[in-house]
C-alpha cells in the first residue's frame, strides 16, 4: 500500500470486567474511502468507535492518525485531530434549534462573550446547503419537531462542518424508513465524494454495499476480515459475520466445506 491510512488501529484490546469486547483488533481507513464496519449485535463495533472517540481508552494496542501514533482522551482530542462521531443513540438536544445544535460546545462568540447568532445561522445554512439537506423548513425550529431522517441529517452535518477529516457514523439509518434511509445514504455518498473518510456502521448489508468501498467484519470482538466491495458478495460477508472465516478459525470443521463448495 502506497497510501498512508488516515486512521489505523493496531492490536486494540478492550475488556469490561470479564467481558472481552475487543481482542487484538486491526482496523484501517484510507483517505477518501467509505469503510463499512459490520458485525452481529455485541460484536464490538460501538466499543471500537468509542476507543477512537476517546470515550473508552483501550487496554492495549495503538492508534495511528495519518501514520503518527496518537492518544485520544475525549471528544475534544478527537475533534482536534478532525475525527467526528455520530452516535447510534443520537446526540442532539431536543430543546435546542438546529443552529444551536450544530454549534453546541463550539459556539462562536465575540469579545463580550456574546454569541454570534447571525454568523452561526449563516454558516449552518451554508453547511446544510452544501450537503443538499433540503427538507428542513426552518433552521430555527427546535430539533424536537424534526423527523428522524432530518435529525440524522443534522447530526451528520454537525459532524462534517468542522473541517473534519474522518466521520464515523454508528448505525445512522437504524431507525429510519425507506425514504429517509435514502436521504442519509445519499448524504454519506456525498461525504465520500467531497474527499472525507467515512466509517459506516450498519446492520443493513444492502445499504453497506451501496455506499462502501471496503468492508471490515467484526465477530465476537475480533476482526475476521476486510473485503473490497467490488470483489465480494453479500453472501460472503454474511458468512463472515455469522461464522467467521474458515482460515481464521481453523479447527472448526463445519465452516470449511461451505466456503470450499
Amino acid at each position: 500500500m502506497s497510501e498512508t491510512p488516515i486512521l489505523q488501529l493496531r492490536g486494540i484490546t478492550k475488556s469490561f470486567g470479564s467481558v472481552q469486547a475487543l481482542a487484538d483488533v486491526d482496523f484501517e481507513v484510507l483517505p477518501g474511502e467509505v469503510m463499512a464496519l459490520v458485525g452481529d449485535n455485541g460484536a464490538g463495533k460501538s466499543t471500537l468507535v468509542k476507543c477512537v472517540a476517546g470515550t473508552h481508552s483501550p487496554d492495549s494496542g495503538e492508534i495511528l492518525f495519518e501514520g503518527k501514533p496518537v492518544t485520544i482522551h475525549g471528544p475534544k482530542d478527537a475533534a482536534k485531530l478532525g475525527i467526528e462521531v455520530v452516535y447510534q443513540d443520537l446526540a442532539l438536544c431536543d430543546n435546542l434549534d438546529v443552529v444551536q445544535n450544530m454549534y453546541l460546545g463550539r459556539e462562536e462568540r465575540d469579545w463580550l462573550w456574546r454569541l454570534k447568532e447571525p454568523l452561526m445561522e449563516q454558516r449552518t445554512a451554508d453547511t446544510l446547503r452544501s450537503l443538499s439537506v433540503t427538507t428542513i423548513r426552518s433552521i430555527r425550529q427546535p430539533v424536537a419537531s424534526l423527523s428522524g431522517g432530518q435529525r440524522q441529517s443534522v447530526a451528520v452535518a454537525k459532524a462534517v462542518q468542522w473541517n473534519s477529516r474522518l466521520v464515523i457514523l454508528d448505525e445512522p439509518t437504524a431507525a429510519l424508513g425507506v425514504a429517509q434511509t435514502r436521504q442519509v445514504l445519499e448524504l454519506v455518498k456525498r461525504l465520500g465524494d467531497q474527499g472525507l473518510s467515512v466509517v459506516l456502521i450498519s446492520h443493513n448489508l444492502h445499504d453497506v454495499f451501496e455506499v462502501a468501498t471496503r468492508i471490515t467484519v467484526l465477530r465476537l470482538g475480533r476482526d475476521v476480515g476486510v473485503y473490497e466491495r467490488e470483489k465480494t458478495t453479500q453472501q460472503e460477508v454474511v458468512q463472515a459475520i455469522t461464522a467467521g472465516i474458515p482460515t481464521r478459525v481453523a479447527g472448526i470443521p463445519e465452516t470449511t466445506p461451505e466456503l470450499a463448495s
Binding site: 443513540d89 438536544c93 430543546n95 453546541l104 462573550w113 433540503t134 428522524g148
Partner: protein, 417 residues
C-alpha cells in the same frame, strides 16, 4: 455564489427569496413553538390580567398606586430567589436550600454591619460578604451533586436542614439583630424622585431599543433573514409601555412616593441574567445540559462545571434576595428564611413557565410568576381573606400551571420524532 447550489436547496431559511418567510414568520414561529410544546407566557399574562381585574372589584384599595408600589417591594426578594430557581430548573435539578440560605445571607449582612460587634463593615461590604458566602455554599452543594453524583434533591434537603439549624443556633442566643446601615436598608426602602424615575425609564427603553437595533444590523450584515420584524417593533413598544407605565404609577403613589429601588434592582438582575442565559455560551450550555446531558458531554461541554456554576448562581441569588427581605424588615429574627419563601420561589419559576423537567424556561418567568404570587397574596390580603385562603389559591394556581406544562410536554413528545 454558484446558482446550482441554490437550486439544490430551496427549502432552508435563507436570505434570498425569503419575503414569504418573513411575512408568515410570526405565525409560523408561533405554530412551531406550539408544536414543540412551548406555550410561552400567553396563558400566564391572561391569568394575571384576570386576577388584577378580579381584585379591583373585590377590594377598594387594591387598584391604587400605593398598593402598586407595595407589591413591587413585597415581591422583590422573592423574585431574586426565583431567578436562581430558573437556572437550577433549567438543568432539571432542584435547590431546596435557598429559603434558609437567604436567611443565612440576612444573618450575615446583619452581623457584618452590627455597630460595636468588632466586625462592623460598610453596608456594601456586608452585602458582598453575605452574597459571596451564599454563592460559596451553593457551589459546595453543587459540587456534591455534580462531582459525587448525589441527587440534588437530597443534597439541598440536607442544606435546608443544616442552614435552618445554623440560623436557630445563632439567633437563639442573639434574639433579634437590628439593621441600621442605610445602604442595606435602602435596597428595600429607597424610592427615586419622580425625575430620576423618568430618566431610568428612558434609559431602560433606549438601551433595549438600541440592543434590538444592534441585533437587526448584525443579522443584515451577516445576510441572515429577519423573521417577523413586526414582533421586534411590538417588543420595543411593549418594553416602553411597561417601564414608563410603571414609573408613572409609582410617581403617582403617595405614601412611598416614587419608583422603588428594589424594583430597579429586580430589572437589573432580570436583564443581566437573561443576557447570561440567552446570549452567552454558558447559558446555551445550561439549556443543553438540561435538555440532554449526554449530548452536551459528547459535544465537549464540561457538564460538572456547568452544574456547579448554576448552583453557585442559585446560592448567590438566594443571598441577594435574603438581603432585600431583611432590609424590608430592618432586622433579622428567628423566622428569617422560613415560611413559604422556598416554595413560593419554586412556584414562581414554575408558574411563569419554567419546566421542572429541564431545558425549557426563561429568566423572565421568575418575574412573571412572582408577580402572580405577590398579586394574589396582596389582593386576598386587602380583600380581607385569611392566610389559609392565600395558600389554597396559590396552590391551585401552581397546579394549573404545572398541568399546562405537562400537557404541553405530551404534545411535544407526540410531535417529535
Amino acid at each position: 455564489m454558484s446558482s446550482d447550489v441554490d437550486v439544490a436547496a430551496p427549502g432552508i431559511g435563507l436570505p434570498e427569496g425569503d419575503e414569504a418567510e418573513a411575512q408568515a414568520g410570526l405565525w409560523r414561529r408561533a405554530y412551531d413553538n406550539l408544536r414543540a410544546g412551548n406555550l410561552g407566557i400567553l396563558p400566564i399574562v391572561i391569568g394575571l390580567a384576570l386576577i388584577v381585574v378580579f381584585f379591583s372589584y373585590k377590594a377598594t384599595n387594591f387598584f391604587t398606586a400605593d398598593n402598586f408600589n407595595n407589591i413591587i417591594v413585597q415581591m422583590a426578594g422573592l423574585t431574586m430567589l426565583a431567578f436562581g430557581v430558573v437556572f437550577v430548573l433549567l438543568l432539571g435539578e432542584i435547590d431546596l436550600s435557598i429559603g434558609y440560605l437567604s436567611g443565612i445571607a440576612a444573618l450575615a449582612v446583619a452581623e457584618f454591619q452590627l455597630p460595636g460587634s468588632g466586625h462592623a463593615y460598610p453596608g456594601v461590604v456586608a452585602i458582598a460578604i453575605a452574597v459571596g458566602l451564599c454563592a460559596l455554599i451553593g457551589g459546595a452543594q453543587g459540587s456534591v451533586v455534580a462531582l459525587v453524583g448525589v441527587p440534588s434533591f437530597v443534597v439541598t434537603l440536607a442544606g435546608l436542614l443544616i442552614w435552618q439549624g445554623v440560623i436557630l443556633q445563632v439567633l437563639e442566643i442573639k434574639g433579634v439583630i437590628v439593621i441600621q446601615d442605610k445602604w442595606i436598608n435602602d435596597t428595600a426602602n429607597y424610592y427615586f424622585t419622580s425625575r430620576a424615575g423618568w430618566i431610568i425609564a428612558a434609559v431602560v427603553t433606549g438601551s433595549y431599543a438600541l440592543a434590538m437595533l444592534g441585533s437587526v444590523v448584525g443579522k443584515l450584515r451577516a445576510g441572515v433573514a429577519i423573521r417577523s420584524p413586526l414582533l421586534i417593533v411590538a417588543k420595543v413598544l411593549g418594553v416602553a409601555a411597561a417601564t414608563f407605565g410603571t414609573v408613572a404609577i409609582s410617581n403617582h403613589a403617595n405614601v412611598p412616593n416614587g419608583l422603588p429601588l428594589a424594583g430597579v434592582l429586580v430589572v437589573i438582575f432580570l436583564i443581566g441574567l437573561t443576557f447570561l442565559a440567552k446570549r452567552t455560551p454558558f447559558g446555551r450550555h445550561v439549556y443543553a445540559v438540561g435538555g440532554n446531558a449526554e449530548a452536551a458531554r459528547r459535544a465537549g461541554i464540561n457538564v460538572p462545571r456547568i452544574r456547579i456554576i448554576v448552583f453557585m448562581i442559585s446560592g448567590a441569588m438566594a443571598g441577594v434576595g435574603g438581603v432585600i427581605l431583611a432590609a424590608r424588615l430592618n432586622s433579622v429574627d428567628l423566622n428569617v428564611g422560613g415560611g413559604t419563601l422556598l416554595l413560593d420561589a419554586i412556584s414562581a419559576a414554575v408558574i411563569g413557565g419554567t419546566s421542572l423537567f429541564g431545558g425549557r424556561g426563561e429568566v423572565r418567568s421568575a418575574l412573571i410568576g412572582a408577580l402572580v404570587i405577590a398579586t394574589v397574596s396582596n389582593g386576598l390580603n386587602t380583600a380581607g381573606y385569611k392566610t389559609g385562603t392565600i395558600y389554597i389559591v396559590t396552590g391551585v394556581i401552581l397546579l394549573l400551571a404545572v398541568t399546562l406544562d405537562t400537557v404541553a410536554r405530551r404534545l411535544q413528545a407526540r410531535s417529535g420524532r
